[in-house]
């Protein structure tokens, strides 16, 4: 999406002044939207998700390249599907949520890949480490709700997610598949 980027507080004013598109979507549907991930543990794909996240987005589905977005994921809201793992990954070796409670992503650019596919480029910050990532996604609108759906591979080690004994990638693979489903509506329509 040409989502991504925007200062936290100046969202509405800046999106209007910069984009001036009447068709812009800014309202995140918190209930339907999902950020999930699949990690590989001993070769076993295990799905988890983040229950709490927020996004400041301004995007015109007809022209995603002009969109911007900023995501903030509450890392403490992680649900790995296993209560033991949930408490482990909040600890120092993993997310260290007491020191780094949130992950955030700020979009820099969205480009078209053709065939209704786009790619969001931006900076992802987790545990004090900032890295540029690229997340391909598709756009689909139904009944006035637009779904931005995509995924990207996150390498956990550069972000120091799983340090010490956990850095052994034969137990937990370095590659984590992050999937997102973001449902947006125009701010005026909903709310």
């Amino acid at each position: 999406m040409k989502l991504w980027s925007l200062s936290l507080l100046a969202l509405l004013s800046s999106s209007i002044s910069v984009a001036t598109s009447a068709a812009e979507l800014t309202q995140l549907n918190q209930d339907k939207s999902q950020i999930s991930f699949v990690s590989k543990q001993m070769g076993v794909p295990v799905e988890g998700r983040f229950k709490k996240f927020d996004a400041k987005i301004a995007v015109d589905p007809a022209k995603p390249e002009a969109g911007r977005a900023q995501f903030e994921v509450d890392l403490g809201s992680i649900d790995t599907g296993n209560s033991e793992a949930d408490s482990e990954v909040k600890g120092k070796s993993w997310f260290n949520t007491s020191l780094f409670p949130k992950a955030n992503f700020v979009s820099k650019q969205v480009r078209s890949l053709g065939n209704g596919r786009y790619e969001a480029l931006g900076q992802l910050t987790i545990k004090g480490v900032a890295r540029d990532i690229a997340a391909p996604f598709s756009v689909k609108t139904e009944n006035g709700v637009t779904l931005f759906e995509g995924s990207f591979t996150l390498n956990r080690l550069p972000f120091k997610i799983g340090e010490g004994v956990w850095s052994d990638t034969t137990t937990v693979a370095d590659e984590v598949q992050v999937k997102f489903k973001i449902f947006l509506t125009a701010s005026a329509a909903k709310k």
């Binding site: 543990q41 070769g43 599907g81 408490s87």
Partner: protein
């Protein structure tokens, strides 16, 4: 080889299964109480791989046995034969039921079984925490039943060996040549 003895392959399957059970059972007890760690994840996987191997060997054993029947039981009181026979049947039942209950539990708990980290076994159940916890209880109960039955199985074999001094246990040896007097 006389009709009094088991085939070499049957003997091999028997001891291989025994060995795997003697590793997988204490491993299951031990890993359960470990704090969440890479070691725990590894041990759980090893335990599952062992269990699936027990299941595969069990299938091979029954297939082999269908065409290579076990030798008749040695002379002993009827009640002993019945008891030994029942225990053998239950042991066969458990070497199927226990791995399958573990497999189902893994599915219900949302942690798929991937044999040797390579071959994903289909999840036979959808993820369901309550069902997963229930299956964990079933798995545990079946295992304590196995423990009791294996205890009886071994006690019986030892009693025949040291008290009756017959060939019951020797027949399960790779070196057993068959009873001379019977031939």
């Amino acid at each position: 080889m006389s009709a009094q003895s088991y085939t070499k392959l049957a003997i091999f399957f028997h001891w291989l299964t025994a060995l795997m059970i003697f590793v997988a059972f204490p491993l299951g007890l031990y890993m359960h109480d470990l704090p969440f760690s890479p070691n725990k994840l590894q041990l759980y996987s090893y335990h599952k791989w062992l269990g699936i191997t027990v299941l595969l060997i069990a299938i091979l054993r029954l297939t082999w046995r269908a065409t290579h029947p076990a030798p008749p039981m040695l002379a002993m009181p009827r009640w002993q034969q019945l008891l030994a026979h029942s225990i053998h049947h239950l042991l066969y039942l458990l070497i199927f039921a226990i791995p399958i209950s573990g497999w189902l539990m893994s599915s219900a708990k949302g942690f798929q079984t991937v044999y040797f980290g390579i071959l994903p076994l289909p999840d036979l159940l959808a993820k369901n925490k309550e069902l997963g916890d229930l299956l964990a209880e079933v798995h545990e109960l079946l295992n304590y039943t196995l423990l009791a039955l294996v205890g009886a199985h071994i006690a019986g074999a030892l009693k025949h060996h040291f008290v009756e001094r017959d060939d019951t246990l020797k027949r399960m040896s790779f070196c057993y040549k068959g009873k001379k007097t019977d031939a």
